[in-house]
């Protein structure tokens, strides 16, 4: 079949107004339905004619999935809340600034106005071999073109590979891990709650998915617990240009302190693996210290333990080490 791009094939658009209706539609159209949030990932797929669902379930009309609510133990963010709303939310800015900071690093203002937090964490990888519609493992084929010896894999992973070497592109994912967010995934079988770090899965588990969500699952809410409110946060995203760019490597970190001692830490890095990586080895090194330079250096080295470069991404090992080091250094 000759290839043609930039022309979205027709599909049936379904616009439920409740989670329950959406789940029913997903059950009803099992195997053929595509879940549409902000559309920034979806429409790229559609216009390339690589993904061609016959039915698209648009979550835009589900009021209960929009907005940020105060709950007893923190905040609950509807998955369809736009990134701009997250960026501007006063309490998120003051108490979980790492989340607002990460959301503000997504792409451009236009994309943040349209893109949702749920979509941002659920989006597919941007590996260009995969996005080009090549029959790679992730696409159900039997080759990883990005890991071939001569492949162009500057953006690909340095750890967590398993046949596929793509990386998770989400800016908010590491921040949500840093604040120990809980992801509420609903299906017709009922809701399930996942720790943010467990929400993302690697190709070793399932090479065709980026998250625990299977067909007919919906991420409906994200709960930000109070546990890490007002911690000391650090977020940094390294990218090739100042806007409209996915990360090369990003780091999000949260530190709790007593006096000048770190009592607890959560550090997550994205852009280095097919999933955002929580670097617990670094966290262990940091706890009990002041985050001094020696600790920061040790944490950086611990973070890259086991990292292995592809042809063009050796730099990421240094970049990851340095970002973790900077995150730790930031609390000293």
């Amino acid at each position: 079949m000759a290839k043609i791009r930039d022309m979205i094939p027709a599909f049936e658009l379904l616009q439920p107004t409740s989670v329950e209706a959406a789940l029913n539609l997903l059950d009803e159209h099992r195997g053929e339905a595509w879940v549409l949030a902000g559309g920034l990932d979806s429409f790229d797929w559609f216009k390339d004619r690589v993904k061609r669902p016959s039915v698209v379930v648009d979550l835009g009309g589900i009021a209960e999935m929009h907005g940020i609510r105060e709950v007893t133990n923190g905040l609950e963010i509807g998955a369809m809340t736009t990134l701009t709303e997250v960026v501007r939310h006063a309490r998120i800015r003051s108490e979980w600034s790492v989340v607002a900071d990460a959301a503000e690093h997504v792409a451009t203002p236009q994309i943040r106005n349209q893109g949702t937090l749920g979509g941002n964490v659920s989006q597919d990888t941007r590996c260009w071999y995969y996005r080009s519609g090549w029959p790679c493992y992730r696409a159900g084929g039997n080759t990883c073109y990005a890991a071939a010896p001569q492949a162009m894999n500057r953006e690909h992973c340095i750890m967590g590979r398993s046949r596929c070497v793509a990386v998770n592109p989400s800016d908010t994912a590491p921040a949500l891990i840093a604040v120990d967010a809980k992801m509420i995934v609903e299906s017709s079988k009922g809701p399930k709650v996942y720790d943010a770090e467990d929400f993302f899965i690697g190709p070793a588990i399932d090479i065709t998915r980026m998250t625990v969500m299977k067909e007919r699952d919906l991420l409906t809410r994200i709960h930000i617990p109070s546990t890490w409110a007002n911690a000391e946060f650090y977020y940094e995203k390294v990218r090739d240009r100042g806007a409209w760019d996915f990360q090369l490597v990003s780091v999000a970190a949260a530190f709790q302190k007593e006096g000048d001692r770190i009592t607890a830490a959560r550090i997550a890095v994205n852009g280095v693996a097919p999933y955002p990586v929580r670097v617990e080895a670094a966290e262990r090194i940091v706890v009990g210290t002041t985050g001094d330079e020696a600790t920061a250096a040790a944490a950086g080295e611990a973070a890259i333990e086991g990292a292995r470069a592809l042809r063009h991404n050796d730099y990421k090992i240094a970049m990851m080490r340095n970002l973790v080091r900077r995150a730790v250094r930031s609390v000293a």
Partner: protein, 795 residues
């Protein structure tokens, strides 16, 4: 009192249309019965179409017809056809399908069964130069009109030197020498040898090259996205082998071309030919994805450079070898690069060798500052490295080597009309506060290191001998007919200003007529090489002078007295016999006929201007003339860019903190537009040097970074908000208005200022490649595995 029009900010006439979305680009036109075409692009970098079965596609409801390669013009040799059965790059159009709507056409393309035979391909030109390497064409890797195809290779010994990191001494199809480089190197106090890789990158104009066409009898109506207009009409006529006067050519707006749409595009033939075949108007909307392939790209360079310097910092010898990645249909950037190296560093002794290698990558074409931008962004850091090693201030180094007015450059000792590069450097140094900034070089703030750099970039900026055509109508307004294109630079309006000023008109009384050949277009330049401002301020000045003379003569004939005694200002002509409005003058001119209203035309105007002038004859007082001002020497403009960056050694990220761009482009016609050109071009160059990239998979020979988000042209957050610019503002003495073009040189200046500043922040270490993305910088700083020294297309 006449309004001062040259040197002031005036809103261009298309401003409202653009900002309100009413501007009609090629794809906004519609015609009754119009159908849509879609292209089937080659999936392989080099192939032969073995079989096409379109029966299933043609049977689909709404599908009109298919257009194949054998139905469009083609020529032997490495020459592009708008459709081909022998694709030489991934994305080359094979065939087109027309249908009632685009979705049907797209579905029909997918329904076509097509079988390709893959052929050997070349992505990196060095592969083809190696003994036993592959060729981009079945027939060979070099072509000459006389001898046809041949294979050209460097020797194993050449590659042994290259692979060992040295500078080879290869034979090259292009070679020139001036002075005695070997003797000069022997006298040099410092000789630097560097290996250079400059990336190839796509143009990515905002508007893809969409176009529409239909026929009424033998008349073709073509709506095209193009930089030029009058010249594109002739290019289209030539491609279709038809009388240009049988084309009504419409190109009102162009959303950027940067050299990729100079005289239209190859693909503009498709709707014209297809609509003739099916008897219905055909619209071909080119998508961003397609634009990435069939749009053009800047050729990449792999290059070896040897530069010799005297103790005071003067460059006394250059030996430059360029291997150009030329795509399947060639490009000539390398030749300009050699000329510009000689012009910018005035070594007096230079050897230049080049080989342009066909490759199976999307076609190459001029991209803003073609050849110059590449070589300047690569050589300036080496000049600064020499300054550092010789202990010479870098500003002084640039000043010392920059050409003076008597410069002779290139193999034929070309000259310039004027050059004020040194003034640009000095003005820039003053605005940038070079002494204070250079003192910050190497300053550390945590992991961030400050670097400063200067890029001096020249480029051609003018041509002569075009025609101007304008009419004062009975409504008293001056209608300036422009054959030049409206490519977003404001030259469409700005080049009319000298004429309006000559006639003492306020800008409100000037109407720019452009974008539609049925309204009359004089012989014009192509909008390339930054010729337009120079060429058409001259041409319109000449036509304005003609109109002024005729106004005076009409006034004198009407009111008595000598024509020379009449003054034209404020929409009136006044003199000893009284005063009359220009509207009245226009009426009188029509009554007087002959040369006054265009029924008799000057004998020296170009034959292409005559039909347009004849079309307008009798509608008012006509100013029509050829640019006979003459002049010697090449017209070049200059930009000196000064950059201050902070390089984060822990991430490899470079943040531009300050930038100043100073131009020598003669008289300033439109300051605001000029500023946009100087800074916009500089930013484009910064993108070329730092963020933008194009990447090919070597196994499959196909490009990635096909989208704007992966190609990464720079955005507003990549530069500080307070970029500064200024102009030397010294008129070129060889042209009546004194203005030269400006589009090209800022690219090299912006790129080079950054490459120099990055090298400075790295303690003088020149990576000598673009783009300087964080990965490359960080890998270098950390001593980690980076890209191969000579690898092309890795981004």
């Amino acid at each position: 009192m006449a309004e001062k029009l040259v040197g002031t900010d005036i809103a261009p006439p298309d401003l409202h249309a653009k900002i309100t979305g009413r501007a009609r680009y090629a794809e906004d036109f519609r015609a009754p019965g119009m159908v849509f075409a879609k292209l089937l692009l080659s999936p392989m970098p080099h192939a032969r179409v073995r079989r096409v079965d379109a029966r299933r596609a043609l049977a689909m409801p709404g599908v009109i017809d298919i257009l194949r390669a054998d139905e469009v013009p083609s020529r032997d040799g490495p020459r592009e056809a708008c459709l081909t059965d022998y694709p030489r790059y991934e994305g080359e159009p094979i065939l087109a399908v027309a249908a009632v709507d685009e979705e049907t056409a797209a579905a029909a393309i997918e329904a076509i069964e097509i079988d390709f035979e893959p052929l050997p391909f070349v992505i990196d030109p060095l592969d083809s130069l190696r003994p036993g390497g592959p060729n981009a064409y079945v027939e060979g890797n070099q072509f000459s009109g006389q001898d046809g195809w041949s294979e050209f290779r460097w020797t194993a010994e050449d590659f042994a030197v290259i692979d060992a990191g040295g500078m080879p001494d290869p034979s090259c199809p292009v070679e020139w020498t001036k002075g005695d480089p070997d003797a000069a190197f022997a006298e040099s106090a410092l000789v630097l040898e560097e290996t250079i890789v400059h990336q190839s990158l796509t143009h990515h104009p905002m508007e893809p090259r969409s176009n529409m066409a239909y026929w009424e009898g033998d008349r073709l109506f073509a709506f095209v996205s193009t930089q030029s207009t009058q010249q594109t009409k002739f290019a289209l006529a030539s491609a279709l082998d038809m009388d240009p006067e049988n084309i009504t050519f419409v190109a009102e707006f162009c959303g950027g071309g940067f050299g990729s749409k100079i005289s239209g595009t190859t693909v503009m033939q498709v709707p014209a030919i297809f609509s003739k075949k099916i008897g219905r108007p055909v619209m071909l909307r080119v998508t961003r994805y397609e634009e990435n392939y069939i749009g053009r790209a800047r050729p990449g360079f792999q290059s070896w450079l040897k530069m010799g310097f005297l103790p005071n910092g003067k460059c006394n010898a250059i030996d430059l070898i360029i291997v150009q990645e030329s795509g399947p249909y060639g490009a000539s950037d390398y030749a300009t690069a050699g000329m510009i190296a000689d012009l910018t560093y005035t070594p007096q002794n230079m050897r230049f060798r080049a080989v342009d290698m066909f490759t199976n990558t999307p076609p190459k074409a001029a991209q803003r500052g073609p050849g110059g931008a590449q070589i300047i962004s690569m050589m300036e850091p080496i000049l600064e490295k020499a300054a550092r090693e010789l202990g010479v201030d870098r500003l002084e180094m640039h000043r010392l080597n920059a050409p003076r007015g008597d410069v002779k450059f290139g193999p034929r000792d070309s000259t310039l009309t004027s050059v004020h590069a040194i003034e640009a450097l000095e003005r820039g140094a003053e605005m940038f506060d070079w002494p204070a900034k250079v003192a910050l070089s190497g300053r550390r703030d945590g992991s961030r290191v400050t670097g400063v750099g200067i890029g001096l970039s020249p480029y051609t900026a003018g041509s002569r001998d075009r025609d101007g055509l304008m009419i004062i109508r009975p409504d008293g307004k001056l209608y300036v007919h422009q054959g030049i294109g409206n490519l977003g630079t404001h030259s469409i309006a700005d080049t009319a200003r000298p004429a309006a000023e000559l006639l003492g008109l306020s800008w409100d009384d000037v109407v720019i007529v452009w974008g539609d050949s049925s309204k009359g277009m004089p012989r014009s330049t192509v909008q390339a090489g930054s010729q337009t401002t120079h060429a058409h301020t001259r041409a319109n000045h000449a036509a304005g002078m003609d109109a002024l003379q005729k106004v005076r003569e009409v006034a004198a004939a009407t009111m008595g007295g000598a024509p020379s005694a009449y003054r034209v200002d404020g929409g009136r002509v006044s003199g000893p016999g009284g005063t009359m409005t220009l509207g009245r003058v226009a009426e009188r001119a029509i009554q007087m006929g002959g040369r006054y209203d265009g029924h008799v035309l000057p004998e020296d105007i170009h034959e292409q201007t005559i039909p347009a002038a004849q079309m307008l004859a009798g509608q008012g007082l006509m100013g029509v003339a050829r640019d006979n001002y003459g002049g010697e020497g090449n017209v070049y403009s200059w930009v000196a860019g000064f950059a201050l960056v902070e390089l984060d050694e822990e991430t490899g990220v470079v943040a531009l903190k300050e930038y100043v761009g100073i131009t020598d482009c003669g008289t300033v016609i439109h300051p605001r537009s000029l500023g946009a050109q100087v800074l916009g071009g500089s930013i484009q160059g910064m993108g070329m040097a730092m963020t933008q990239r194009w990447v090919f998979d070597p196994k499959w020979g196909v490009p990635f970074a096909n989208r704007l988000y992966t190609a990464r042209p720079p955005g507003m957050l990549d530069v500080p908000p307070d970029l500064k610019w200024d102009a030397v503002g010294i008129a070129d003495p060889t042209t009546p208005v004194g203005a030269k073009g400006i589009g090209e040189p800022p690219v090299g200046a912006g790129a080079a200022a950054l490459t120099c500043a990055v090298a400075d922040a790295m303690g003088g270490r020149c990576l000598c490649r673009t783009p300087l993305t964080p990965d490359i910088i960080l890998a270098e700083l950390e001593g980690r595995t980076g890209v191969g020294r000579l690898e092309q297309h890795v981004g």
